[in-house]
């Protein structure tokens, strides 16, 4: 079984008008150790909800999440078993995820206490900071004394202090300047390579995902529509929505190419379209698409897609 394994996950919220919003409508996802799995999709498609359920921050309405073979218990009532603390989360906004009144040493100390619980060699605060490219000398300072990129490094150092085996990072670079984005992306890649942690990298930025992720999972309106190794997915997406996302990306190459337009908006998840949820925006939809939900099918090595019209990749049967 995978390090982190999500099966048939459903997450529901009660909306303001009393209607139920199904933010995650039955998703499967796996993360192996030493692997970066990216979760991409337009805003509101359910990425953060899936990420939070994966680490037990919200209680799923149905389905299962297992980490290291054990079910992940939602946080709350009981203290978490020590082994589960080796599943850590990093958030988008480094300004709100670090308590401004606590020193860096204390923030990282929380993580160190967690690693004490599950045994293993203790790191020092200085080691954690140096691991993310910061100087050990900053331990007695406060978060507000640092830039966004540096704060995100501190948040990652805090997660590392718990000696995690898997990290779920929700848009960890989206709030940063391009240059800081590159340095945090490089840092995450080196951590995964050196420490063999698994990383679920949630992002809406496909160009960075192509760079760093081994596997890319594309989500649309609460469902996984395609999963594939990143490079083949990029070169030849099987699902029309993946193709739409990739076509909309701009390249800073100076050539003046206009990105392709994927018309329409993401529908309200409280009232998803019948059949294939993508059919109102799909450029190749047929009659069947508006009545029959497409099943996920295995269409190539490590490649699945949920589309009636997707064909297996060449030489795959």
């Amino acid at each position: 079984m995978s390090l982190l394994s999500i099966r048939d996950l459903v997450v529901r919220y009660r909306g303001h008008s009393g209607a139920t919003v199904t933010a995650v409508a039955g998703c499967d996802l796996d993360v192996e150790e030493g692997q970066i799995v990216a979760l991409v999709g337009e805003s509101g498609c359910g990425k953060s909800s899936l990420g939070k359920a994966a680490v037990g921050l919200i209680r799923p309405a149905a389905g299962s999440v297992t980490f290291d073979g054990e079910p992940v218990e939602p946080l709350g009532q009981r203290a978490r078993p020590a082994a589960q603390r080796r599943l850590q989360m990093v958030f988008q906004d480094p300004f709100s995820s670090l308590n401004p009144r606590r020193r860096i040493a204390d923030l990282i100390g929380d993580g160190l206490r967690v690693s004490e619980l599950h045994g293993g060699r203790q790191l020092s605060v200085g080691e954690c900071l140096e691991r993310v490219g910061l100087s050990a000398g900053i331990a007695d300072r406060f978060p507000h004394q640092f830039s966004g990129g540096q704060r995100q490094r501190i948040a990652i150092a805090r997660a590392l202090a718990a000696q995690p085996r898997c990290i779920v990072a929700d848009e960890p670079i989206s709030a940063l300047d391009a240059s800081a984005q590159a340095s945090i992306a490089n840092l995450l890649v080196s951590l995964v390579d050196d420490l063999k942690v698994g990383l679920l990298f949630i992002s809406h930025d496909l160009s960075i995902v192509r760079r760093i992720a081994d596997i890319t999972t594309v989500m649309y309106l609460g469902r996984v529509v395609e999963t594939a190794p990143s490079e083949p997915l990029w070169r030849a997406p099987l699902h029309p929505y993946s193709a739409g996302l990739i076509g909309a990306i701009t390249e800073p190459d100076g050539r003046g190419r206009m990105p392709a337009d994927l018309p329409g908006d993401v529908p309200d998840p409280a009232a998803p379209p019948p059949g294939c949820r993508f059919h109102p925006r799909c450029p190749i939809a047929i009659d069947r698409c508006s009545v029959e939900v497409p099943e996920r099918r295995l269409l190539g090595p490590g490649r699945t897609a949920a589309c009636h019209l997707a064909e297996p990749v060449a030489a795959f049967v």
Binding site: S179, A182, N186, L245, A248, E251, G254, R255, P259
Partner: protein
């Protein structure tokens, strides 16, 4: 379409310096001697990291600088100096120069129907009857591809998605028929799919209406799709300017090169992501000499001493770097 034309530009900013009060009761310069020109029907991009002075430069054209800000220099719009005459600035704002922001709700009033806010604006600037203003507003909404524009006029901003709201903000900005649209990070808050639609919309409006656009963005991919010419700012100064294809494909200033190297583009094997070390300096703490020197891998002693001038290096192309280490380097 690099405008090396003989006609005078629509907008010409000359030697613009903007100082702001600091917390210590002093003044510090946030924009330092910026020259920038926009031709008719031209899309000019303004790039640079956070805090480089892009937004302040744009706000000065509209006379919308924050209180305490003091601009010096000339801002010529069709030969009228907007800095010298408050009346010229007021008559131009909204009617001849309009602006859209990253957050469309900056421009849209949440409690007013779309129709009400659009027609009030049009009636004020064009002195039209309510009926004529309605017609203009509906036409504009239709042009930005809001489905069912008559019905949309009766709805409120929160009833639209983020991308639709940005289209409405653009329609509203363009309803009075301005010659120049200033767009400050118009797609930064949007998904790439929605962004693509807005970029195509702006390009179409330029083509059909001969609209000039000042496009502010730190996203060089967006720049590459839309801008004819690009200016790159660092610590309040323009450090590189030139035609889009030249600046983005063959960056010549080390800062421009650094920004591009940090971006994922092309296939992963093309180049590793190379982060620029450090972060941009805060106002009041701009390093002496070339402000970029603490982050520049080509810096020499002279860079710490002298402020480099923006010098022409090719037709339409200028950089502020006397070392010019990338002159012969292929991108």
């Amino acid at each position: 379409m690099a405008s090396v034309s003989t006609k005078p530009p629509l907008l010409s900013i000359e030697g613009l310096t903007i100082s702001l009060p600091t917390a210590e009761g002093q003044r510090a310069e946030a924009v330092r001697g910026v020259d920038l020109a926009i031709g008719r029907g031209e899309i000019v991009g303004l790039a640079g990291e956070s805090g480089s002075g892009k937004t302040l430069t744009a706000l000065s054209v509209l006379g919308l600088l924050p209180g305490g800000a003091r601009p010096v220099g000339r801002i010529l719009f069709e030969e009228r100096d907007l800095l010298a005459s408050g009346r010229a600035a007021r008559s131009v704002r909204g009617a001849e120069v309009a602006m859209v922001f990253q957050d469309p709700m900056t421009a849209l009033h949440p409690m007013l129907s779309i129709g009400r806010q659009m027609t009030e604006h049009v009636r004020f600037h064009l002195r039209l009857s309510q009926h004529a203003a309605d017609t203009v507003a509906v036409e504009m909404l239709d042009r930005v591809r809001i489905p069912n524009p008559r019905e949309a006029m009766t709805r409120y901003p929160h009833q639209f998605s983020g991308g639709m709201r940005q289209r409405i903000a653009i329609a509203s900005a363009l309803a009075a028929g301005p010659k120049l649209l200033i767009a400050d990070e118009p797609t930064t808050a949007l998904d790439v799919t929605v962004q693509a639609g807005i970029l195509r919309l702006i390009e179409g409006l330029r083509r059909e209406l001969q609209l000039s656009v000042l496009l502010i963005t730190h996203d060089l991919g967006v720049m590459s799709a839309l801008a004819d010419r690009v200016y790159v700012m660092y610590a309040g100064r323009v450090v590189e300017r030139g035609a889009r294809a030249d600046v983005l494909a063959q960056p010549r200033h080390p800062y421009t090169r650094g920004l591009l190297d940090a971006l994922p583009h092309g296939s992963p094997s093309d180049h590793p992501l190379r982060a620029l070390p450090g972060s941009p300096p805060a106002i009041g703490r701009f390093p002496a000499g070339c402000a970029f020197h603490p982050r520049c891998r080509f810096a020499e002693d002279i860079c710490r001493a002298d402020v480099p001038d923006l010098m022409p290096v090719a037709p339409g192309r200028a950089i502020a770097c006397p070392i010019d280490p990338l002159a012969a380097v292929p991108a």
